[in-house]
Structures are given as C-alpha cells and as structure tokens.
Amino acid sequence: MILLGRLGSILATLFLLSVIVFCLQLLLPGDPATILAGEDRSPETIASIRERFGLDQPLPIQYVRWLGNAVQGDLGMSMRFNQPVVSLVLSKLPVTFQLATMALVIAILIGVTSGIVAAVYAGTAVDQTLTVLSVFGFSIPNFWLGILLIMVVSVQWGLLPASGYVSPLVDPWESFRTMLMPAFVLGSQLAAILMRHTRSAMIEALNTDYVRTAYAKGMPRRRIILRHALRNALVPVVTLGALEFGQLLGGSVLTEYVFSVPGIGKLLVDSVFNRDYPVVQAVVLCSGAIYIVLNLLADIAYVVLDPRIRRGRSA
C-alpha cells in the first residue's frame, strides 16, 4: 500500500546513513590503527589491531564487514569505557527519551496554546507579544538559556536542582523536578516553531467556510475554535511535532551537557572530549535510525488523523 512504497526509500536512507557513518572514520587524520592503539604504540600492537579490525583490507570489504557486524548489533568497543558501544548507547537512551518526551509535552503545551491564542487575537498586541517571544525562543542558544536558568532558578532562588538525574522509577517527583529545567530548555525552540505553525494554521482554519457555517448556526465560539478549527489546524502540527522529536534528540546534546543529564547527548559530548570515535559513530547512527523510524510513524499518524488522505490514496 502507501506505506510499502515508503519502506523502500527508508531502507535506501538507512543504507546511505550507514555509509556516511562508516566514512566518518576516513576523515580522521593519520592511521586509524595507530589511533585505536591509544597509548601503546608498539609496531606489534598496531599490526595486530590492523589485522583484528581488518584495516589491511580494501575499503568496500571493510564496509561490508562493519555493516555485517552493525546489523548484528556490534558497532565496536568504546575506547574509553572498554564496553560494547551499542550497549553503552542503549543504556543511555531511556534518559534521553524521558527528557525529549517531557520537552515535547512542554513544547506542545506552550507552543500550541500560545499559537491558538495568537491566532484568535491575530493582529492585536497579544499576538505581537507572543510572536516576539517566539522569535526569542527560536534564537536563544539552548546552552545559554540553560546556564541562565541555573544561575537564577538554582543558584539565586534555590528552587530546582541545577544538575543530575533521578530515575522516575526511584522517585517520580524528584525525577520530574530535576528534568523540568532541562526539558523546558530543550523544548523552548520547538515551542517557538509550534507556536508559529499553529498560529498560521489556525488563522487559515478560522477563515474557512465550515467555521463560518458553524458561527451561522449559532455554535458557541469556544466550541468552534477547539472542535472545528483546531482539529484541522493540528494535522500539520502533529506531523511537525513528530519530525521535530528527532531534532530534540539532537538538541539534547548541549542541554544534557549543561545540566549533566546522563543521556546519549552527554555521552556524545563525553566521547568528544575523550576522542572516543566509535561511540560518536554509534550515537549518530542511532539518532539517524530513530529519526527515520519516527518519520514513518508520523506518516502513519497523518493517515490515521486525516481521513481525506486515507480515502484519497487508497482510491
């Protein structure tokens, strides 16, 4: 059906992603075996590493071998933690998911609500204020907003913890409190984007014939806005939200670093500092793969949410 065709291009994209991630290591200046050897640079060690990792083979063969391992969930060993890279990334994923989900919820609450308000009061001072705020939210660098919030909320007021992580399974309330600031910081940019899209989609929806008809029927304004206009305006917004979830994973890099949240973002930064190249490759590969899957889910959501697409394409 519709989605089956998408599957082909998704496989192609995943393949290209793996090629790009594999090729990253070719950018490293110098001999990879020497780099992998780390401190111990005796010729024997380097030679044995070259043989063990197949670095003496031609590139396409190296790639096929690497891909074969990757498909079986083996992306190499972390040079720093001496632990399989995949299990390292997987162990950090739940934290990042929790952070990104909270950020998404905050972004939707702030973004969609302010978008509706701005659209309903389009052209007024309320609309203009919200639009200016959205420009601010879009432009403020995550890490700086984080530092400012820590400065004010944690250091000055002592309201929320400045850093760290508590599992929701251990203490849900404390987990919520530690995640609140990072999630707000991570979600701020998405909130700005969602606000703009909700605003323009709502303005469009409020000017349609069916909304005019609903008014003519004497339906309450609140009901028209929430039931009729919003439902139609939300379709593109939902897709955007799903797509941006992938970007949240990317944005989590600096946010997690600033707030010391132990997710894949912080893992990436730590690996940058430790020059732990295989971990960096794995993080990029996993994030890309997650995004591609989310993309597919967004397509499915789109079809489910909008009956017109469902009927239109299957006919």
């Binding site: 420009v135 890490f143 400045a162 940058v272 993309n295």
Partner: protein, 283 residues
Amino acid sequence: MSTKAETIAAHDGLLALLWRNFAGRSGAILVVFFILMAATAPLVAPYAPLASDWNAVLQPPSAAHLLGTDELGRDVLSRLLWGAQSPIVAAFGSVALALAIGVPLGLVAGYAGGVTDAVISRLTDTLLAVPGIMLAIALALFLGGSLLNATLAIAVAAVPAFIRLARARTIQVMAEPYVEAARSVGVRTVRLLFVHVFPNLVPPLIVQATLAMAVAVIAEASLSFLGLGRPPPAPSWGSMLTVGKDYIGSAPWLSIWPGLCIFLVTIGFSLLGDGLRQSLERR
C-alpha cells in the same frame, strides 16, 4: 532583455522595502553591527585578547575592565569583541559553501528527475535524518577542531535544506509555460537552467540563506563550546561560555555577555530572514 538595469532597480526596491519592514530593519542593524564588531575588534578592543593580568583574575565589571575579567585575568570586553570573528566567518563561509553545493544538486535533481533525482533525494533524506548539530559535532570531531573544519561541518549539515528548496522550486518552475517555450525553441539545458530557471530560485534562496546563517551562528558557538571550534586561547563566544559554565555562581558576567552576543547575532539573522521574506512576498 535589459536584465542588468532591471535587477539593480529591483534590488534597490527590495532594500527600501526591507528598511520599511520592522523585522527586516532591526535584523539588518543587528547583523551589520556585529559584522563591524568583527572587523574593527583589533582597533576598538581596549586590551589584547590574550593578555593576562594575574593581579586582576575574575574581577567583576569595573572602570578598568568594563565587562570584568576571566579566570586568567583577560579582559572580557576585548575577548568579546574579537570573539565576533569566528561566528561571522563561520556563518558566511558555511552558507556560501552550502549554497555552492546544494543549489546545483537541487537544480539537477529537479530538472533531471528519475534515477538522478532519486539518488540525490535519498542522500538529502539521509543527511536530514541526523540532527544537524549532531552531524556537525561528529564531522568536526573527526576532522579535528579548527574554525575551517567547524565551517565545513556546519556547511554539510546545512546542505540538505538548500537541495530540497532548490529541487522543489525547480520542479515548480519547470512546469511554467515560458520554460516549455524556451525549450521548444531549442534553448540548451545548461542555459535553460541558469538563465530561465535559476533566477526564480534566488528569492527563496536568499531567505533560506539568511535563516541558515542564524543556525550557523548557534552551531559555531555550540562547536566551540565543546572545544571543536577555533582552538583556545583564541577568543570565541562558545569557548568563553565553556569557562563561564564553571563559574556560574561566582562570576556570572563570564556567561552572560558571550551568550547575549550569540543570541543577538542569531536574532539579527532570523529577523533579517523574516523581513526579507515579507519584503519579497510584497514585491
């Protein structure tokens, strides 16, 4: 076709429109201000950016040091002024590079269709699948930290957006009757693409390029924040924040100013992009 005179007239019209647009005017002022800051830092800065004064370490703002000093006794204001150079260079450099790579690829994909389009589009999808900042971090790490490599990394992350835009617009324009007319009178492909199709791509590309510069400024700051930009001790806003982060409680001025600069440049480019879009739509 008196193209030259017309373009210039149209160009003047755009600048005038931009100046009448509030967002456009504010953005233009901010961007020009920071370009001047980068260019004149050597003349204006009160101290050398690397000069340490060990008797004035972590001093709060004072008459001698208007924005205070850092952990090595260096003047924050001077470092801030010099620090404008790398984001400006990275923004213009990376976007120029992304345009140079992305636009021809998008044109070809949109024009040729078929397998060429499929290959280029899948490549675009792939680059878009990895969050831009993550891709830039990975590339900058593997290439090694320097301003040039950071610019390259940011450019690669910016390319897919330009390919998509150029491709979509090309497909749109190719359906126009005048393109068909040009083709039917035997205009050759290269000329068709550059003389008839490309000019239609310019307005949306200008807007996208300006917005991409806003993203590039944040990306450059992020990379130098992680030590992947211009290597220290060279002043850059990102690396100044890295230090500031360790003195949040005791020396907040170390974090406030560089962050504010990054924020203002980004806002400048965003507003300029918005203003340009509105002005171009109005024309």
